[in-house]
């Protein structure tokens, strides 16, 4: 098949977005389900194409296909930008992740969003998001990538705010948008910096410039750090992590797709995509590893104490993204992306499980759940599989990628290795805290009267969860003998290529397995067997609990101190004064006083108009003086 077909992978979901929002929405208001079917059909086709593309990439000698490109903008003697696609192993793996998770989430949404008045809109936005995400993965130049980078942010904004009636959702949407834009600013600056120094946006060309050493030194370091700033915003790394937990206000399938598996992983992907730039700047690479390692443990501690199931998962996502960054910084592309690949499936599954639980109980508060094991056996089983996987239990997928990260950080970043080891314990603990609080013990009544008899979700929701659970078990096997590492090629893969059982001959996996086991055991002791009282432990660690529960006061720091006091209270208030008394005061004075046009003239003449004229005079004077002194 001709390689032009790769374009279709991106165009199909875009087409389904256009079809739903402009053609079907007015004509098929009474058959909303059609929009869901169209989305799923387009994704199935894209999935088939991307599996074909993966096969081709695996067969190609350099794991890279040349896709014919389009000249997008040509300015003579200036800028020429080609619209092109990269189809290499990294792209192929990411495509698989994005499309499979998106497909599962869309199927699940058929049940979850059933009867919602915004059904069409939801599927339209989801299609647009998937198309943008695919575009982001395929783009072969930074500018094109940036366009999609912004588009996925915009879709996330629209989807978080999907539920109009909740003010919290609206605020969360705004917060997410503004915080991630802070990082985007760094990314854009890096793009412009790279362009002014090299004259190209093409990623492959930038790679070769960095490899040959033409692009080096402080320029390279600053460019890499700017790119990483964008990744920090998108992937909710410290210190821009504050938006992701709030973003959980959106519908749960949205959280599963955007805020667990794909968009938030775009930051990790971006670093992987531009990895040669990082590789040739020790400072930048170390920054990535440190921020990642720190975020991993920092977010995990906050996940310990949350009572909202989605928020625990949100902090867990931040923490796991930190692991991926650590993997990139300490080990290389293959290691970071391998964890991204595995994480996408089990984390999406956890979110879908949380959505299923919410569907049955009407709440996200774990204290109102409990005892769901018997009534929701499928949800329970899949949730436990995902939890075991994220905790890194052999032989589930999370085990394989997490141990690669641990092994690589042991050699290059020993301090971060110890932090990552502690994180293994914390992760296992908080995940099984969720499992025991939600599914164990007795039912605590749910969110409302209507939910006093919880039941299993419909099969349209359970089926995708089962498929994802299968993936959560098996996706890690891809690298059991080092296939994945060899395919991604970049960066060395560590010694865990001894096979399924061979790996257990090393001490490191055993240490992490024991730590994870201890975490699960502790959770069992406190939340299931009740050997230890949660209240007393909380009382004992009260200052720490408060610290974690208040999220290290970062929200307060950002909102109250930085935004309210410094910006609004200080800077803007000063400007407001000028505006009120200098400009608005003038207008109001004139407007209030003037009743007839004659009086308008009189007021205007005696009033502020002269001030305006004066400003013109002062402006001219300032320019002349400026020229005189500095010109």
């Amino acid at each position: 098949m001709p390689y032009e077909l790769v374009w279709l992978i991106f165009l199909l979901p875009l087409f389904s977005f256009a079809l739903i929002s402009f053609v079907l929405r007015p004509s098929l208001t009474h058959k909303p389900r059609v929009s869901g079917y169209i989305t799923i059909a387009s994704l199935l086709s894209s999935l088939a194409l991307s599996i074909w593309a993966l096969m081709e990439v695996m067969a190609a000698p350099s794991h890279n296909l040349a896709i014919p490109d389009i000249s997008w903008v040509i300015i003579e003697g200036g800028i020429t930008i080609h619209l092109g696609l990269i189809m290499n192993s990294l792209t192929a793996v990411m495509l698989l992740v994005v499309i499979i998770v998106s497909l599962m989430v869309q199927i699940y949404s058929q049940g979850y969003m059933h009867g919602d008045p915004g059904y069409h809109r939801y599927f339209a936005f989801m299609s647009l998001f998937t198309a943008s995400m695919i575009g982001l993965v395929l783009a072969d130049n930074l500018l094109f990538l940036y366009v999609f980078w912004e588009l996925v942010g915009l879709c996330s904004y629209l989807l978080i705010g999907f539920w109009f009636h909740r003010p919290a959702a609206a605020n969360a949407a705004k917060k997410a948008f503004i915080v991630t834009r802070l990082g985007d600013f760094g990314f854009l600056a890096a793009i412009l910096l790279l362009f002014s120094n090299t004259g190209t946006f093409n990623i492959a060309e930038l790679h070769s410039l960095a490899i040959t050493g033409v692009l080096a030194g402080t320029v390279l370091t600053w460019a890499a750090i700017g790119i990483f700033a964008g990744a920090v915003g998108k992937s909710a790394q410290f210190p821009l992590h504050v938006w992701l937990p709030d973003a959980m206000e959106g519908p749960t399938p949205v959280s599963a797709l955007i805020h667990a598996a794909t968009m938030v992983a775009a930051g990790v992907f971006l670093v992987a995509r531009t990895f040669p730039l990082f590789e040739h700047s020790v400072e930048a690479l170390t920054t990535v590893a440190i921020i990642g390692g720190f975020t991993a443990i920092f977010a995990a501690t906050m996940g310990l104490v949350m009572t909202d199931i989605k928020r625990v998962l949100a902090y867990s996502t931040i923490s796991q993204l930190g692991y991926m960054m650590l993997g990139l910084g300490a080990g290389g592309v293959a290691i970071g992306i391998f964890h991204l690949f595995n994480h996408a499936f089990f984390k999406a599954l956890l979110f879908l499980g949380a959505g299923s639980v919410n569907h049955a109980t009407g709440t996200f508060d774990m204290r109102e759940m409990g005892g769901l094991r018997k009534v929701m056996p499928w949800t329970y089983a899949t949730f436990v599989i995902a939890s075991l996987s994220i905790a890194g239990i052999w032989p589930l997928s999370g085990f394989w990628s997490k141990d690669e990260i641990l092994a690589s950080s042991l050699t290059s970043q020993p301090i971060l290795f110890y932090l990552a080891m502690i994180t293994v314990f914390i992760t296992a603990f908080y995940m099984f805290r969720v499992v025991f609080m939600t599914f164990g013990g007795n039912y605590h009544g749910g969110g409302s009267e209507a939910h006093d008899k919880p039941h299993e979700s419909p099969s349209v929701m359970v089926t995708p969860m089962v498929i994802l659970a299968i993936l959560a078990v098996f996706s890690g096997f891809w690298n059991v003998t080092g296939h994945f590492g060899a395919l991604l090629g970049h960066g060395e893969t560590h010694s865990f290529t001894e096979g399924f059982f061979g790996i257990l001959a090393h001490p490191l996996p055993w240490i992490s397995l024991i730590l994870a086991g201890l975490g699960i055991l502790l959770a069992y002791a406190i939340y299931s067997a009740k050997w230890l009282s949660a209240e007393r432990i909380r009382g004992f660690f009260s200052p720490l609990h408060t610290l974690f529960y208040r999220k290290y006061w970062f929200d307060e720091l950002y909102e109250n101190v930085l935004v309210k006091k410094a910006l609004i209270g200080g800077f803007f208030a000063g400007l407001q004064q000028i505006d009120t008394y200098g400009v608005d005061g003038a207008v109001n004075g004139v407007a209030n006083g003037a009743l007839a046009s004659g009086r308008t003239i009189r007021r205007a003449q005696t009033g502020q108009l002269q001030l305006y004229g004066l400003f013109i005079g002062i402006g001219i004077l300032a320019i002349v003086l400026g020229l005189y002194f500095f010109g």
């Binding site: 300015i75 705010g161 803007f572 003239i601 320019i623 002349v624």
Partner: protein, 486 residues
Amino acid sequence: MNLELFIPELSLLACAIAVILLDLFIQRKGLLAVVGIAGLVVSAGFTLAMWGGSSQAIFNNMLAVDNFALFFKLLFLGIAALVILASVDYVSKFTRFQGEYYALVLLAALGMMLMAATAELISIYIALELTSISLYVLVGFLKDQKSSEASLKYLLLGAIASAVLLYGMALVFGFTGKTQLGEIAQVIQAMSLSGILSSPGLILGIVLLIAGFGFKIAAVPFQMWVPDVYEGAPTPITAYLSVASKAAGFAIILRVFYSAFGLPQWLSLDWGLIFAVLAVIGMTLGNIAALPQTNIKRMLGYSSIAQAGYLMVGLAAMGASPATDALGRSTILFFLAGYAFANLGAFIAIIAISNKVNSDIINDYSGMGKRAPLLALALTLCLISLIGMPPAAGFMAKFYIFSGAVQHGLLWLVVIAVINSVISAYYYLRVVKVMWLGEPASEEKVLSSGALRIALSISCLGVLLLGVIPGFVMKLAELAAKMFKF
């Protein structure tokens, strides 16, 4: 004397007169709008026919007929047509003077076409006054308190700006003895460096010209009139002012500073720096003052001050580049085209909404996403373009201007501009948020008329086309920037 090169202007003038005359006989005033648009289309046809030909001049080198002028003429004609479409509903509420309204819109367009073409100081002044006087009257057309006040302020401050401009022209004339831009350039080139340095009057003259034109483009510190006038004027006229009048100001600045004062290099570097400083002040002040606004027209007024700031980043980059480099100029032309579509679209959506809710207060737009989904979607698209986000025109426009500036070593200026874009996202998105996430005040749908829908569709299509396939318009802008007669 090639009078046929003047046909676009003549035909538009004839159309304006025809509208006034027809007004006396016609009962259905809607026809006047049709005649006006027909006149604009005919004029645009004549203009288009001249595109791509060699650069020529008429009336003793007073008016240039080059691609640069033609590009702007087409832009003005298009904007005027959209403004008339957007006015149909608005004007039908007037009891009198409907014909005059359309005629004045056409005459202002005529003035701006002349502004884009003039290459001589006196005719620049006349073209500017023809535009301004038409606009003074249009701003006051509602004849209520706010509108009269706005008109009066605009008139008085405009008169001050004109006086300043005239004074600047007098000084330039005094030092060079010429009024034709090309000849001024020759005189300046012939002067020795010390000769220029010893004539601060010439420099003062140039500064006064900047001030006079700065008033038109709403550059800080000559922007004081903007929020008041934007708020008080009839909304279609606000749109007209914010887009066409600003573009005309930039057309003149580009021509004057490129033709007359482009050489020698040291001088152009200096005014490049002036524009850089004005750009920083304009962007920052415009964006920050827009943050607390509650009236959407006022907010867009401040936003237009900020947009003028971004445009001046382009002017500053031009100052830092060699005179033969057309890239800097073409980026400004592209930005103006993209800005025209986005800002017009935003104002047209505002007209449609405020026709129904009778308010320009942002909070009254609450829940518009439910009451008028397409209108809200269109307004969202236009605001996204004004922020400068893909896939809208504003992104490509800002991108071109900023990358041009980076290439000429103005990275510091671009960093400030990008920070400003981030700030601006806040107030633009607040409108988006209110529309989509707010509770609707009533369940009643907001319907808009056919004319408004056509105008809005054209604007949105423009925004998307320029954002997704910018190559074509960029090519036109480049051709226009290269073909300077003087």
